[in-house]
Symmetry: C2
Subunit: 522 residues, 2 copies
């Protein structure tokens, strides 16, 4: 779209990566033809473990849309039936009851349906992220979004907490499903953190089947234009300073300190197709002097989140506290260069759709085994038809992909959103049980679950490479598959390192390095 | 494949029908572009009714596969945990306990998984109906099929009845879902009917959310070669004579008489791609003298089932008893001419995939609004990839299609098979809420539910044509849609009747009639 990186645009390199990726795909097809039945035989003789009782993590899901549309509808009706006269908001000093909220919207909750609720994405949202975002407002009313889907409101976010807890109970009952919901920190004020922590602690939102991720929307420009923020630096300060303080002095920030135990990472979110005119370079203004109303580009956001998280992690590690992963949305839409930014800064990414368009980046993500949480049903409603989704192709080549729901409220029909996601992928792409269990294993690996949990769910040696790291009794992934993946990756890496010794390639790499350092955008 | 009907093969007629069908499809596209938002607006202002609480009938499902694979697995484990020492079979006069059954299979049910159960259709079943049929044997063992999935065995079919009742309880809880499971009558012996009725009555299998259909497998040749039957006529007699007797003299057949109240129709089932050398004509041997080991062709089966059901219905109607619909499997595979046989004999059909290949028949099925129960997930595993399934196209043109599961045990992943079917169709084909509710309405219309139930679920005047027959408060189908369908069909019919007056068409029809009566296969 804009300034494409010279490194990923060199023609011989593109050809090379394209060919290697084709080779990887063909090699998997061959593996499948030869070993499909042997893999299934291995699984059939694996006692007590099948696709239903391997652990699966929903690696990308927004808390505000983690319930399905029918669930939200039922909850709204229930509150109206049980407590219509409760004060739920305050406007210009006047207290407003639930009944009054619905009266002012001219609506009787008994008549409310999923159609009038209108939170589900339809054909109208395709390539319209703006329309999609407005779907977060039930019945198109921001009052209901504030009341039911926010952590900060007159009720202290009680309704939202109750719904999230209902979702958590369903996960706990399912026993084998986990999820990593995103909660928002905007960076408008340093009080957001203590407020969010208080919501979490007071409503006891904790669940053993959930790990929390903080999403930071890239909307500095909106806050700046409303004069809520003087500079981008202030936004970063509001996001990160409370965390440094809670890390250095946990006693004074008990709730936040406790909440952070269950937070495992950061996400960076917004419409990637929004364009920024600024190009990030060593001449870019530093955050404190970024006072213009213009939004910084994706790369600028990513770099400064990464830099802050890294420093924070070092401090926390020193003090024996938990650390955070950086797991931004990336490659859902917009410029391909976002994938370069994330390659350099992120632990793993959500979406990665646009890797489809860059063989060099796709090959790099493969070689580095950077985890990708994909959501084909979300893409199907927003950016890419299901049949064109590259998930199957990425999986076959050996990229580290998992399946996730993104927004069950907007995209899914059944009560079990993650199972719906797996079922549709399995049906449309005719995935084998071994494929499905490999995706499930990937999801646990790339999640924020602890070392102990991963040992319990995947096996003692899960962190080792190849078949040695796989306990089929827990993962139901055939050792034949694991051996194939490991051998293929080792071959690819040794092939590259051999090639490094040959002059031709060395020259190519030197040329690229020169390009990289003369015209970089980092 | 073989003897194609001259009527459906006339070239000008093919061209004509092809063009009319194209026209119907384009007309719907136009309707969608112009009225999509108006339809949705109608639905949004329709109180209390949405896709989740409109009635849906699973119009085609085999009882022996009506539970999902995980359900069957759980049930098997449960029986082993609670009653391992119960006698469950008898072999050569020796009583065998459940424990002994599993011992003889060298298997501990604790270790059993959906993989080792191996009842799910995979890539191996595509175009292999034989492999698919063997999937009905859990762990590949016919002992377990007999014990868990049959109505006649040492336990009197108790296990099967218990599982079916568990499925029924789930439907009743869901409140809005109904299903029409098929139970088998083979025609080997006249005792099959009283046995099946006893199974139904003794185990109290009745559920308000289920209506029963009797499926007759087209496997005369197998029984004949095993010398279980002397002629095809004897098979028909075993199937129909007990019904005539129970109709004439209900007192002497109380259980069967009671059971028949809940049976709403007949199905004819088997692999349609199996070929028969015989061509049905007025020179074909009548059933009593059909003593050869050869299987009669599809048309022969259909004709004689139809003829018997018609006579039986007349008798029952006279006596004020319920009547039966004829709802054969048709057009799933094999010769296109099957669709001609069903057009002439059936009330509605299951599958109808091959209408895709015959514009004349497709147009006829449209004009006559013959209901078609489609199962795209079943087709996806057996005969046609999901993306190539014609359901969306048929729906758009205005054919009377519903969605059904066929065999949840073999094809589905989630607990809610019918919802999985709707969800995948909605996602892959981007169906609107109005589309989904139209399919659901069709499913109730084409089901064996009673007039009173249809009035309750669809509205007082459901049997009337056009918007007058639609109660949006019950169906959630927009009146705009209903008006479009009605107007389109009326136009099409009046267009035809106008054309009848023009000489050219009359000549064409005369020519066709001549062909039909000189070279028919009926």
């Amino acid at each position: 779209m804009d300034h494409s990186s010279p490194l990923t645009d060199t023609r011989p390199l593109k050809t090379y990566c394209h060919r290697r990726l084709n080779f990887l795909e063909s090699k998997f097809s061959l593996h499948e033809m030869l070993n499909e039945m042997s893999e299934f035989k291995e699984l059939k003789s694996n006692p007590h473990r099948d696709f239903y009782n391997v652990r699966k993590v929903d690696t990308h899901i927004h808390a505000a849309a983690c319930m399905n549309q029918k669930h939200l509808l039922r909850f709204i009706k229930h509150t109206y039936q049980t407590e219509p006269d409760r004060t739920v908001a305050e406007k210009w000093g006047r207290k407003i009851t639930l009944r009054q909220v619905f009266d002012s919207l001219h609506m009787d909750p008994y008549d409310l349906t999923v159609d009038s609720l209108d939170v589900h994405a339809g054909r109208q949202t395709f390539h319209r992220f703006d329309k999609f975002n407005s779907k977060y407002n039930p019945v198109g009313a921001s009052e209901l979004r504030d009341l039911y889907l926010k952590t900060e409101n007159y009720l202290g976010g009680e309704y939202f907490a109750r719904m999230v807890k209902e979702v958590a109970r369903e996960l706990e009952e399912s026993k084998y499903q986990y999820s990593e919901p995103r909660l928002s920190i905007y960076g408008r004020s340093p009080k957001e953190w203590p407020n969010l922590a208080r919501w979490f602690i007071q409503h006891k939102v904790y669940s053993p089947n959930m790990r929390w991720i903080i999403q930071v929307p890239r909307i500095y420009d909106i806050f700046r234009s409303k004069k809520l923020l003087p500079s981008f630096g202030k936004m970063l300060e509001n996001i990160f300073l409370p965390l440094f303080e809670a890390t250095i002095n946990p006693q004074d920030h008990r709730e936040l300190h406790l909440f952070l135990k269950y937070v495992t990472g950061f996400d960076s979110v917004d419409d990637e197709s929004k364009h920024s005119d600024h190009m990030f370079s060593d001449k870019s203004p530093s955050p404190e002097i970024w006072t213009s109303e213009q939004n910084p580009p994706y790369s600028y956001y990513l770099y400064y989140m990464y830099a802050n998280i890294m420093v924070l992690n070092n401090l926390r590690r020193e003090r024996g506290l938990s650390t955070f992963l950086f797991r931004p949305h990336c490659g859902e839409a917009g410029s391909i260069t976002h994938l370069v930014s994330a390659f350099l800064t992120a632990d793993n990414i959500s979406h990665g759709l646009l890797l489809k368009k860059s063989p060099v980046l796709q090959y790099l993500y493969y070689l580095a085994q950077i985890p990708i949480a994909m959501s084909p049903l979300s893409n199907n409603s927003l950016f890419l038809e299901y049949s064109k989704n590259p998930l199957r192709e990425f999986l076959h080549k050996g990229l580290h992909v998992s399946l996730s729901t993104d927004d069950p409220m907007q995209f899914h029909y059944t009560k079990e959103a993650l199972m719906e996601e797996y079922a549709i992928a399995a049906q449309v792409w005719k995935l084998s049980t071994c494929d499905l269990c490999e995706i499930a294993r990937n999801s646990v690996l790339q999640s924020g679950l602890s070392h102990q949990e991963k040992q319990k769910f995947l096996g003692q040696n899960y962190y080792k490479e190849g078949p040695e790291g796989n306990d089929i009794r827990k993962t139901n992934v055939a050792q034949i598959r694991m051996a194939f993946r490991y051998e293929t990756l080792c071959n690819e890496l040794s092939f590259l390192s051999d090639a490094m010794k040959s002059e031709e390639i060395t020259a190519l790499i030197h040329w690229n390095q020169r390009q990289l350092y003369t015209g970089p955008h980092f």
